[in-house]
């Protein structure tokens, strides 16, 4: 099952659901946790790249949700509001780490003073066949994600892993649609370069189809 299909079970009436949350109903809170725990953990994990950091981020996120739900006025959807909190929590964690670690993620386009690229993509990894193995692929993807800047990483995670629409992403991040599209475009460009070897293996099939359709 793809991530999009796992998705969300829809709460029938969001307004009624929010009402129950605002009066402190046990059941509503439990439903909230049941619906959002896994997606929020997933987002935090993909953004932070570390299980225990993600775990902490999830707890902080829910604490803020529980505190803030009383004053939630429904100006945006509940889902996007929740994602917004989750992302800002992840950002806080990452900023904290940046302060104490000595390096920041390096962009693939960074050029050193002498003109050479700071990041060399060298295909020194495993053979093409084993690259196709799921686990290795996931590792590589997470590594590629970790190398993106925060904004780009969030855009790709929300769109391609969590399946949020452009509008939902714009709402969750407080950005214009145009900015969302350009961030996504840029992030995907970077991911394509970093994952070149995996994508070659993956795209063999579609290329064969195109090959045949050209009548050769």
């Amino acid at each position: 099952m793809s991530n999009f299909e796992i998705g969300f079970e829809f709460v029938e009436n969001e307004v009624a659901f929010v009402d129950r949350l605002q009066v402190g109903s046990d059941e509503a809170f439990e439903t909230l946790i049941h619906l959002y725990q896994a997606p929020i953990y997933n987002v935090a994990y993909r953004i932070l790249g570390d299980a225990s950091e993600a775990s902490d981020a999830v707890q902080e996120t829910f604490m803020k949700i529980f505190k803030g739900i009383k004053t939630f006025r429904g100006e945006c959807g509940l889902k996007t509001w929740i994602y917004r909190i989750a992302i800002s929590e992840s950002l806080n964690r990452q900023r904290w780490w940046k302060r104490w670690r000595l390096h920041a993620p390096v962009s693939i386009d960074d050029i050193a003073p002498n003109g050479s690229r700071l990041v060399e993509i060298r295909d020194s990894g495993p053979s093409p066949e084993s690259v196709c193995a799921q686990r290795e692929m996931e590792r590589q993807v997470q590594k590629a994600l970790d190398g993106l800047s925060f904004e780009h990483r969030v855009a790709v995670v929300l769109r391609d892993i969590e399946g949020l629409s452009y509008e939902e992403i714009a709402e969750a991040l407080g950005l214009s649609l145009g900015t969302v599209k350009s961030r996504l475009w840029r992030a995907r460009s970077e991911m394509k370069t970093r994952l070149e070897s995996i994508l070659k293996c993956q795209s063999r099939k579609p290329q064969l189809d195109a090959f045949h359709s050209r009548g050769r």
């Binding site: 793809s2 991530n3 999009f4 796992i6 402190g24 109903s25 046990d26 809170f29 439990e30 909230l32 946790i33 725990q37 896994a38 953990y41 997933n42 994990y45 993909r46 299980a51 225990s52 993600a54 775990s55 999830v58 707890q59 829910f62 604490m63 529980f66 505190k67 799921q134 692929m137 996931e138 993807v141 790709v156 769109r159 391609d160 892993i161 629409s165 452009y166 599209k181 996504l184 475009w185 995907r188 991911m191 394509k192 994952l195 995996i198 994508l199 993956q202 795209s203 579609p206 290329q207 195109a210 359709s213 050209r214």
Partner: protein
């Protein structure tokens, strides 16, 4: 449509957010332009790769922690189900437990050993007059402690453990000295010690300080026919 425009719209096409007219003209272009078709394939492959990432499993215990966190905001710290069971169990008639097992924990108070680890102390124990030092003391948050054991574990033997207590009264970590220490019991102890217990911290010169406390826990399961009430 020319290549430059197609490449610009390719992401939105892949994300299904174009009008059907724009989508159609892109498709027509892709059918006859191998360069753009290649770009499209790459983008599509990236999308497939991202979508195929398995959902990470949240670590065990996170679910429980969130529920306990939630209970603080719903105004009750004890799950509603357990409160009803408490009410039932306090009546003089024997009433079958609704479901699961309700256990009452009784604290046997302190301590066989005290050890303080205040950072500002260089002197050994002997130099500190005992009158200025008080031990950590566990306190029940409510008159009787009700713990709902989600895995219905029937713990029959008492457990003796040693807990390190921070200066704010929360448990930093603990070791089981005597009694069961299987993973399920430890999980339940985690929940109990880290989230449901407050201990008056040790004090030194009137200020809270980290300390250690030894606790004994006895468990009294309520069974269908008989109600044991420790109040």
């Amino acid at each position: 449509m020319e290549c430059k425009k197609v490449l610009k719209l390719l992401d939105e096409y892949v994300d299904d957010s174009l009008s059907w007219q724009e989508a159609e003209s892109i498709e027509r272009h892709l059918a006859s332009c191998s360069g753009c078709a290649g770009e499209f394939n790459e983008l599509k492959s990236l999308q497939q790769v991202m979508r195929s990432l398995s959902r990470r499993e949240a670590p065990e215990g996170l679910d429980l922690r969130l529920k306990i966190l939630a209970s603080k905001y719903t105004g009750e710290w004890i799950p509603a189900g357990a409160i009803n069971r408490l009410r039932d169990s306090l009546q003089p008639l024997a009433i079958p437990a609704v479901s699961g097992v309700v256990l009452t924990c009784v604290f046997f108070i302190p301590l066989l050993s005290i050890f303080f680890t205040g950072a500002n102390l260089n002197a050994s124990d002997a130099d500190i007059p005992s009158g200025l030092f008080t031990e950590p003391r566990p306190q029940l948050l409510y008159p009787s402690q009700i713990v709902q054991w989600e895995n219905f574990q029937k713990v029959k033997e008492p457990i003796t453990l040693e807990a390190e207590v921070r200066q704010d009264g929360t448990v930093r970590n603990y070791t089981v000295l005597k009694g069961p220490s299987d993973p399920a019991t430890l999980r339940s102890l985690d929940q109990f010690l880290y989230f449901e217990v407050r201990i008056d911290p040790a004090t030194l010169f009137g200020r809270p300080t980290p300390g250690k406390v030894t606790l004994s826990l006895s468990f009294y399961p309520t069974i269908n026919e008989k109600i044991d009430v420790i109040g």
